[in-house]
Amino acid sequence: MPDSAISRSDLREFYEDVAACLDAEALADFPAFFTEDAKYQVISRENYDDGLEHAPIFCLGRAMIEDRITATVEAALYQPRSLRHFISGVRVVEAGADEVRTEANFLIVESLIEQEPQILMVGRYLDRVVREEGALRFRERTCVYDNYRIRTTLVIPV
């Protein structure tokens, strides 16, 4: 295939690298995974299935993603936590001319002081990925979480 093409294993590695960035709380590196006009949102399945637009995390453009990182790192207070992403089923649902529509399952396990580890979030990534300056980037990343409620707080992006 042409080296511009995006293989399933390229995508898996891309997804894993993004997750590793978040697990390491290297938040400053997160916006670089997105195109400048990217949409990034974390939305409940309840809203998504019902066509409701509200999302607890809603970013139009990389600038808003950068703003959220700034707010989280510089102007937020939260207890120490460890998050681990587990990603399964990365696959291409539609390969377009300049972008591929991809999906995967995510599971985020959270560990807090004095608590047993627990599932923070579980759901699907519904994404549009492009190759830009030789690297893969999200033109859109929609994280649809299945869990009915968010336990306590959502601080780190999904």
Binding site: F58, A71, E74, A75, A76, I150
Partner: protein, 417 residues
Amino acid sequence: MTSTLLRNSTDRVWPAEGVTRVPAWIYSDPEIYAKELKVFHYGKTWNYVGLDCEVPEPNSFKRSWVGERPVIVTRDAAGEIHVVENRCAHRGSLLCWKNRGQAKDLTCPYHHWSYNLKGDLMGLPFLRGAQGKGGMPRDFDKSKNGLTKLRTAVRGGSIWATYSDDVPPLEEYLGPEILMRLDRLVSRRPLRLLGYSRQLVESNWKLYWENSRDPYHATLMHPFLSTFGILRTDGDYHSVPLQEGRHEYTYSHYDPELKNRSTEASKQIKSIRSDLEMKDKDVVTSVVDEFKDGMMGAFQVFPTILVQQYFNCLVVRHVIPKGVGAHELSWTYFGYEGDDARVNELRLKQSNLVGPAGFVSLEDSEVLSLMQPVVESCPDSVQVLEMGGHGTEAQATMMTETLIRAFYDFYRREMDL
């Protein structure tokens, strides 16, 4: 938790100082909690259950809660709103399993008893049996076997329910100040539902109730507010208790210059950082002053909701108790029919401010969930409420706990504590 089990009513003595002190056992004692549900949520109060835009057309429904009890909010074919318990009159099965939807009637999954959207029992399989066998007795009266109906009231786009026949009409219960603020947000134009955020907070519901009556913490615990000039302790601010503490409201006027001003008070806040900027200003500035009054505010209607507005982000926080040590925060974001694309985008963008991941709200659930084990392990410890003095009057400042004192003044009377 167990440490409260030994307690008996005689141990439950409020500290002599009165409303300037709160004993920690009210946050962990299961009997206090059970009494709160009985006296408040199932007693002489009006409980918020939803917005009319959640049941937009005739023959639609949504699930909600009054205290721990599941209810269904319906809009019947005639467009009328009803609130009934989500519990089948036959054997008590959960009747409605979906969050929201369309339906002409409510049919129970267990034995298919079916009810109209008013809650009247319309039919049941084999009412008269078959082949001369089985069926209900001749004297079975369908009209006496409907769903439990709650007394319902609608104000603008807001829907309310109560188990009490004695509680005064909603308008009277809310009072003029709340009515004015509620109408400003939900009665002038038809509402449009933007969506929900649901959050589980593992703390007693009153810790959240206090927190949302606590301007003192706002600029300190939510550094975002001052850092990006949305609200500052030295800004214009009003803290107003209502009806001997039952409800309350707070408000301030948005001041675009606030961020750049340095004052005696701002110097006292360690967490202010003036060097930070948001790249997308839409989230932190008033772009469209849709109410033409420059006001930003919030108000509480006991015992269920806090309604808050930040710029164009309009949201109802519904506090749903889930046992003595937890509550659900159900956030309903709304706009108005005919919002243009720009205003809609502003609402969605500004929703980043408040909710489970909100820039100015995420600290609350962090602090409160860590606080619950502390109050459980120290039931005899007391909270000190002296900021802004010992009184319960309205004050024109954020540096006060008057709203919390007023609440416990009310609470003690109602709970007889």
